[in-house]
Every structure is written in C-alpha cells, then in structure tokens.
Amino acid sequence: MKKNAQNAGIDEVNFYDSAFNVRLKRNLEILSNVLANPTTVLGLIIVILMLAMAIFAPVITEPNTPDPYQMPRDWKAARSAPLTPGHILGTTNRGGDVFYGVVWGARTSLKLSILVVSLTVVLGVIIGSVAGIVGGKVDEILMRIVDVFLSIPELIFALAIAAILGPSFTNIILALVIVFWVKYARIMRAQVIRIKQREYVDAAKIMGASKLQIYLKDILPNSFSPVMVQATLDMGNIVLVGATLSFIGLSEAGIAEWGVLVSEGQAGISAGRWWASTFPGLMVFLWALAFNLVGDGLRDVLDPRTETKR
C-alpha cells in the first residue's frame, strides 16, 4: 500500500505533465493544419500586424492629451498632402493627422470588436444553450425571437438601433451587440442539440455527473468550435459595420476611428485630397479581409462539415 502511494506520487507529476504535453501537441497539430493554407497565413500576418499596431499605438505615435482617442488637431497644417514632414499620411480639412487616425483607429477597432464579440458570444452562448437544453416552449419562443432578429439585414438593423439610441460610440457598441448575438444563439442551440444526443453525454449521466458538470465538460467543449469560427469572422464584420455607422455620423465626431476619419476626409475628395479617406478606408477593408481569411481557415480545420470540400 505504502509503495503504491509512493508510485502514485511519481505518476501524479507524470500525469499532469504528460496530459499537458499531449494536449499541447494536439493544439500544435491543429495550428499546423491551419497554417497549411497560404491564404490563412496571409490573413494571420495582416491580423498580427493590425494587432501590433493597436497595441503599440502609444509607442508609434505620441498619444494626444488628455484623451488619446481624440484626433489631435493641427489647424495650421490642415489639408497637407501625404509625406509632409510630421504628417506622413497627410492631414484632413480640419488638421487631423491621418497617420494618427490610422494607428489609433486600429486600437479603437480592436476595442470595439473585442467588446462586441465577447458580449455577443457570452449572450448568444447562454441563450442558445438554454434553448437547446431546456427545449420545448422555451426553445420555441427564443428561436422565434432569433428568427425575427435574423430576418432584418444586419446593417440596416444596427443603423436603426444606433439612430434610435443617438449618436455615440457606446451606442454603436450597444447596437452591434443587439444585432450580432443572434447568430451565436442559433449556432449554439444547434450544436447543443446535436451534442446532447451523443452517447458520451449519456455515459456521463450514468456515472452520476451533475447537469452542470455535463454542460461544462461534455457539451460546451464539444460544441464550441463553430462559435469560435463565427467569432473570428465577426471580429472583422463588426469593424466593418461599426465603421459604416461611424461614417454615417452615428458616433462622436473627431474620435480616432476609421469610419469617422473616412467621413471627415470625404469632403476633400472632389478637390483631389484623396488621402484622408483612402488610408482609413483601406484599413477597414484589410481588417475585415484578414479576419475573414483566418476565420475561413479555422472553419476548414475545425468544422468537419466542410472538410470534404477541400
């Protein structure tokens, strides 16, 4: 017995160690599958560059005081063309530095997409799980609500809500959350219904696992990959829709946000001052593209349903 316990001690260390290694190896395998696709790698490189830009924004450009998310104004240098000393990408009509807007806009976008995605994922996963697990009337009602939400085009819906709430960046976040959670609810519900019929769930019930344990250990981990794929895609989509709303004027004017900047530069386009709108516009495009490329790559690897397509 004593000897046994000693062995146990050794195996114990071994246990977590090897379990960790095996899981790590598995994840690296998945990663290498993701990286086998060149377009995904391209997307990932752009994503990393964007993220680096967002994170190191205060290093790249001197933060504006007091609020770094407000564009600094240099009225004397208004309407400078790109490559003007001190204003490498030029300035807007109102003297906003385009380069500053591009760099801090990445930070705004990152803030926006992470906030919206995490809120919508949490909301959608909870509601979808409840619908899928409880079933019956609750499911019926929740899914009718989801159907109504899904029947309205994303952009128009977000626009309407943001307009009702009044122009501010916080309201844009709120509008986007209201619009984007439904997809997760639907995905999660379908997954939960699929997974809860698996026999490993029955096996867990038979061994006496509690409902919560079954949800956390069996259902959630096995139904999460499509949610992750959708979240990656939405990291891009949300910035696109958010920028559109800002462009229309639904966020505060003057903040370092790509949509706001495009809108600010718009007036100058007819006079040949293309730069103020083009650079931030390009950033929105690249951001959305990059996350969509990565999302598609993830889907191919994680989602067995599309596996045959490749």
């Binding site: 146990a8 379990a19 490993y200 029955d202 019930k205 061994m207 006496g208 981990p221």
Partner: protein, 433 residues
C-alpha cells in the same frame, strides 16, 4: 429461479411510450409503444440476452434500466434479496390481501429505481453501468483516456487524488490496455480498443450490472471474439451481471444464460439459452433462428424466413402482434379491421375510393365508399386469396349496406405469455394448447 442469490434487476411490466408530436404547436398525436409491458429478471452473475429485430425496443429497455429514460409505467427493481422477490411476486398475485405491507413499502423505497433517492440512488448509479454500440459517439473526442476512465472515480470520490492514476492504469490493464494508453485521445485507437476503453470506464465503479447495448456489432468478427472473451472473463472474475442487447443470435448463444426475445415492444419468448436454441417455441423465434444461417438446425428448416414490414409501433396490432408476418397464424390470433386494410395494397383503386372510416374500436368498423360498387368489391376481395384463410375465418360479420361496409371481428385479448413444454415462456396461441 436461482435459489439463494440476489436478483440484480427485476423488470415488472415496464412500459415506455414516446409521444409523437406534430405541427407548430407540437401537439401530441400518438404514442410510439417502444416498450409495452416487459417483465424479466436478471440474477447475480447472470447474463440475460435481449434479442429482436431493429426497432423492437431493445435499446429503450437498456436506457430505462440505466436510468436514462423515465418509465411510462411499470417498475424496475434493483438488487432484490430472494425474500423480497418472493414478497413482490406474492403482492402482485394477491393485490387485495396485503400481508406484509411494510416490506413492500421498504422494497419500493429502497429498490425501485424510479423511486429511490439519496444514498440508495447513488448506490444504484455506481452499480449499474452501460456500454454503447458506437464507440465513437460514446467517448468524448476532447478528453484523454485518463480523463475518461478516471471520471467516474472522481465523481464518486472512490479514491484519493493521488491514487487516481494507479487505479486508472489498473482498470486499463484489466481490459487489455495499459499505461502507455493513458494520454491519448479516443480517435487514436481502433474500434476494438475504444470499446475496451468504454468497458474500463464501465468497470471503474465496480458495478454489479452492466448493460451492453450491441457492444460488438460495429466490430470486425475477429475483434468481436476478443471483446466477447474479455467480457466473459471479467464476468467470471467479478461476478458481474450483464444485460446483453444484440440482434446477433450466435453472439447471444455464446454469452447468455437466459434469453428474452422481443417483438414490437413485447416479450414473445423467454427462457434458458439451451432450451430456446434446442427447442424454440414461438414462431418468431423460429423465424429468427432460421434467418441466421450459421445456426440453422433441422427444427427450423420448415420455417420461412421473415418477410413483410414490421407494423408501426405507434399502432401495434391487438391480439398477437406477430400475426401480420406469422407463417403459421390461426383464426384465433386476434385479427382486426386494420389487417384487412393492410392487405388491400394490391387494390389501389379500392383504397382510393374509401371516403371515410368510422372505427369505434380495433375490431369494429364502418367503411364508407364513393360508390356502392366499391363496397361490393371490398366484400368480394375479402373472399379472395389476398386475405389469408385464417383471417377470413376470424371475421364475425361483413355486410354491405349501400355505400357502407360494416365489418366486425370477435374482440381478442392480448395473447398472454405462458409456460410452454420446454419450460420457457412463450406468447403464442399454439403454446397455450
């Protein structure tokens, strides 16, 4: 009856009906009679084989036994002493004179799996485990073998944390795997090995009963034999009882002490394995045996193989439910109006001209046709070969009144399970003689 041993499991008139829902409002429009009054016992250390065609309710029974499905009716008792079993049987026979009410109450509250609570339920959970057919679906793809096999130990706090892994290794070794398999994912194993992992998981809590739902059907024949031998050895070492579900008769012959043959949710024959193989009583059992070539024996050569569709379990036939396919059916097998309609498949125009069916019960009906000609045609068809002789004889009355045809049969009770000459139970009018 095994004399001094406990009865590990006793099913008494177990019913499980699934509602059929339709439409937006999910109205219940009928019930699938998946299990319809099943009774049998499993003794300690015994293997009971449950056989029957696809859809007859085998898996449903397994799921009821393991507590995954609540029962519609009936009781399942777990681990009864011989005295308790006798008391229960006594009580069922003489409901009115309750002699030992307190004992019955005790049995209900400590052994009835739908009523037990607390420690007793916990105890039952530990003692009844299940192995599924599909070894892919029964192991979570995101858990390592170590997690899968040690999970029941953790849930029931069987051992200290630092003993978890040695115990898991021990379990793996008992099913012919080892330490080297601990940290792998299920998809890294073959089908046979995955089934071994499932068995190790089922053994973890040292149960008394394991429900095996077609544990080898998905495996190659050679692997199948290895798994069956493993199950056999484990049973010997640990005194396990098995409820072995399969449609493969050669497997059941190898494994089971007793056999329960099911058809459409009901037991049609039950008895000792040797008896049933040597001298099957029920025409359905005979047909099943005749249909497995490796087992065919002279007794069965006169039986035609099973043909025809299995009736809809939402509307199981009255009388003997096997009569729609029985090659030796009799007049008294419980014919009903639906049988005539089932037999009209070659007369499409006649079926199309039925305007309405008024059917107060299964044995009486008024069919209304578009024309009186069709009504007369129906009566004529009943006179032809399309309707078997025994069925025709069972018709009490068939009369044409204008566009209507009134048909009535003698009402028949469900054919009971009775002791036949070889000692097994059989549900057939032929065995009642």
């Amino acid at each position: 009856m095994s004399n001094s041993k406990n009865t590990i499991l006793s099913l008494r008139n177990v019913k499980k009906h699934f509602p059929i829902k339709e439409g937006v409002f999910q109205n219940v429009v009928g019930q699938v009679h998946a299990v319809d009054g099943v009774s049998f016992d499993i003794g300690a250390g015994e293997t009971v084989g449950l056989v029957g065609e696809s859809g007859c309710g085998k898996t449903t029974i397994g799921r009821c036994v393991s507590g995954l499905e609540p029962l519609t009716d009936g009781d399942i008792f777990f681990d009864l002493t011989p005295e308790k079993l006798v008391a229960l049987e006594d009580f069922e026979k003489h409901q009115s004179e309750i002699k030992n009410k307190y004992l019955i109450d005790e049995i209900q509250s400590t052994s009835n799996i739908s009523k037990i609570e607390g420690d007793d339920f916990y105890n039952y959970r530990r003692n009844c485990q299940m192995v599924f057919q599909d070894s892919f679906s029964s192991l979570s793809p995101r858990q390592l073998v170590s997690d899968i096999v040690s999970r029941p130990l953790k849930i029931h706090k069987v051992c200290a944390d630092n003993e978890l892994i040695p115990r898991t290794i021990e379990l793996l070794e008992q099913v012919g795997l080892g330490k080297q398999h601990l940290y792998r994912f299920p998809h890294q194993f073959s089908g046979g090995q995955r089934q071994r992992i499932s068995i190790a998981r089922a053994l973890a809590l040292d149960p008394k009963l394991i429900v095996l739902d077609e544990p080898t059907s998905a495996l190659d024949v050679s692997v199948q034999a290895q798994i069956l031998n493993l199950l056999h050895d484990l049973q010997k070492q640990r005194g396990l009882s098995y409820l072995f579900i399969t449609h493969n008769l050669s497997v059941i012959r190898h494994m089971a002490d007793k056999i329960v043959v099911m058809y459409l949710g009901k037991v049609v024959e039950a008895g000792k394995t040797e008896d049933i193989f040597a001298n099957p009583q029920h025409p359905y059992t005979k047909a099943l045996l005749a249909a497995s070539p490796d087992l065919s024996e002279d007794v069965m050569s006169d039986m035609a193989a099973l043909d025809g569709p299995i009736p809809d379990p939402a509307r199981p036939p009255q009388g003997c439910s096997f009569r729609t396919r029985c090659p030796v059916s009799r007049t008294e097998c419980g014919w009903e109006v639906d049988d005539i309609i089932r037999r009209l498949e070659h007369h499409e125009t006649l079926i199309d001209s039925i305007k309405s069916v008024h059917q107060p019960d299964a044995f009486n009906a008024k069919l209304t046709f578009e024309t009186s000609l069709s009504a007369i045609e129906l009566k004529d068809v009943v006179g032809t070969k399309d309707i078997p002789k025994q069925m025709r004889k069972a018709i009490k009355k068939i009369e044409v009144k204008g566009n209507d045809v009134n048909i009535s049969f003698d009402p028949v009770q469900t054919v009971p399970l009775v002791q036949s000459e070889n000692g097994s139970l059989s549900r057939c009018v032929l065995a009642n003689k």
